[in-house]
């Protein structure tokens, strides 16, 4: 289990917003925690998979995509804020994400 600091929260939040801004070719200033990934950014679920792969390598997290998928089945990540929270959970708990 990794301790999540405020600095890490800010770093992840910025990283996620930069990722979506770059991938969806929108200004980062137009993205906030309430931005909807599909409706507002014209994004898709495959983007989330690519992001998670980057996160796994960046933070050296040991987690199966399948584990994250199970969590998303019950708590979908629809907004940027949802994705940030999910990424933080992944970094904190790895394979042991609470249901």
């Amino acid at each position: 289990m990794t301790e999540i600091t405020n600095a890490m929260k800010e770093e992840v939040s910025s990283f996620v917003k930069e990722y979506f801004a770059d991938e969806c070719e929108v200004e980062i200033s137009g993205i906030n925690d309430g931005t909807l990934i599909i409706e507002d950014l014209d994004g898709d679920s495959l983007m989330f998979l690519s992001l998670l792969e980057i996160i796994r390598q960046k933070y050296d997290v040991d987690v199966e995509i399948k584990t994250i998928g199970k969590r998303l089945m019950t708590k979908p990540a629809e907004t940027i804020g949802d994705v940030v929270d999910m990424v933080l959970l992944v970094i904190e708990y790895g394979e042991n994400i609470p249901e």
Binding site: E23, E25, D42, G43, M47, S50
Partner: protein, 407 residues
């Protein structure tokens, strides 16, 4: 039966990154063939191809969002850009009306996903499956324009475009759809295809004179030159087109689709299968041989195809064969394989639109026993009322698409 008309054209080809430049270079006989730059050809006996001009990279960046672009192979990107051009040209608004009456039928041999990338399974790639889906062409179009009618890919090698247009035609003629996006795309200039076609002696090896290598119907022809591109047409019911006052390039009559059941790569001797297909196209279109002014030939520059196609034309058209113009635009575009039928359908419509017949470039001496007018070396102004667009494929899948001046 609804009449079917063409109301939009889009073209990305070795001759240009849009319809206008492609057409102008085509009728001016400017070749799109040059040295292959897509990959290192060291060790390959064939080093030439007809590549889309490099400015396409800027156009695709401006036209398609990065996220979507990354999930597309080059072939799908080229198709998507050509489709945007065709839709814009047609002026059709897919946001109005019943979306279940709008569809897409696209010809392709696959997505031309480079096997090197496909097989690199150690690298994470969330787009690997989407990039390999041969239905990616109409799938992306359905997403972009909200088409909820029939959308599908048709794969019959070099006649894929003709087959796709025939199936698109049927949807409209039978009253099931009002508009179908159709055409074909192919970007096969990859090591595996250059080597593969080279191995079966199908390609020209004139590396020292690329612009002269594709010489359909010339006695010195030694094989085709590979090309790439996409040609997209908007097929629309006459009723819909007239109601909205659309510009109509041409009427399309039902294409002939026939199989040869002879050989996996060779056409039936003396072009018997090709002739049968042209005769069927004439019959289905309600045309006499004297009605046809121009044939955009398959004309690949291979020894067998061109000899057999010429014989087939002479056989099918009899005494009228010498009166019609026949040319192969592959002399400048190269052979765009699965895209050929789409690219050449667009050029055929432009012939009807402008009254200019594209030349067969690099034709200096034709086979002595062939009495056809191949429009050698120079475009020609003519009154053109009916055109046949021929496509004949490996596997014996033949198609002939009739385009008629709309009145």
């Amino acid at each position: 039966m609804e009449r079917v008309v063409i109301t939009g054209l889009g073209l990305v080809s070795p001759l240009g990154v849009d319809l206008k430049s492609s057409w102008e270079n085509c009728i001016n006989g400017k070749s799109g063939v040059g040295e292959i730059t897509h990959f290192d050809t060291s060790g390959f006996k064939i080093k030439i191809a007809a590549q889309i001009p490099s400015e396409f990279e800027d156009i695709v960046t401006q036209s398609i969002k990065k996220r979507i672009r990354k999930q597309m192979t080059r072939s799908v990107q080229v198709y998507a850009v050509a489709t945007q051009m065709a839709v814009e040209d047609s002026g059709f608004d897919f946001e109005t009306g019943d979306s279940e009456r709008y569809g897409a039928a696209i010809g392709a041999s696959g997505t031309d996903y480079p096997s090197e990338d496909m097989s690199n399974v150690t690298a994470f790639d969330s787009g690997r499956i989407v990039k390999s889906m041969s239905n990616a062409f109409p799938a992306w179009t359905s997403l972009q324009y909200g088409l909820t009618g029939p959308t599908f890919t048709v794969s019959t090698a070099c006649s894929s475009g003709g087959y796709a247009m025939a199936l698109a035609f049927d949807q409209i003629a039978m009253g099931l759809c009002d508009v179908m996006i159709s055409g074909a795309s192919c970007c096969p200039i990859l090591p595996e295809f250059i080597a593969g076609f080279g191995d079966i002696q199908a390609m020209s090896e004139r590396n020292v004179s690329p612009e002269e290598a594709s010489c359909p119907f010339d006695v010195s022809r030694d094989g085709f030159v590979m090309g790439e591109g996409a040609g997209v047409l908007i097929l629309e019911s006459e009723t819909s087109a007239r109601n909205r006052g659309a510009h109509i390039y041409a009427e399309v009559r039902r294409p002939a689709l026939l199989g040869e059941a002879y050989n996996i790569v060779s056409p039936r001797p003396d072009g018997v299968g090709m002739a049968r297909c042209m005769e069927t196209a004439l019959k289905q279109a309600g045309l006499n041989t004297s009605d046809v002014d121009y044939i955009n030939a398959h004309g690949t520059s291979t020894p067998l195809n061109d000899a057999y196609e010429a014989k087939a034309i002479m056989s099918s058209f009899g005494n009228d064969a010498g009166k019609l113009a026949v040319s192969s635009t592959k002399s400048v575009t190269g052979h765009c394989l699965a895209a050929a039928g789409g690219v050449e359908a667009v050029l055929s419509c432009m012939t009807l639109e402008t009254g200019v017949i594209p030349p067969t470039m690099n034709l200096h001496e034709q086979d002595p026993d062939v009495g056809l007018d191949f429009v050698p070396m120079e475009a020609r102004n003519a009154k053109v009322d009916a055109v046949l667009s021929n496509s004949f494929a490996f596997g014996g899948h033949n198609s002939v698409v009739p385009f008629i001046r709309y009145e």
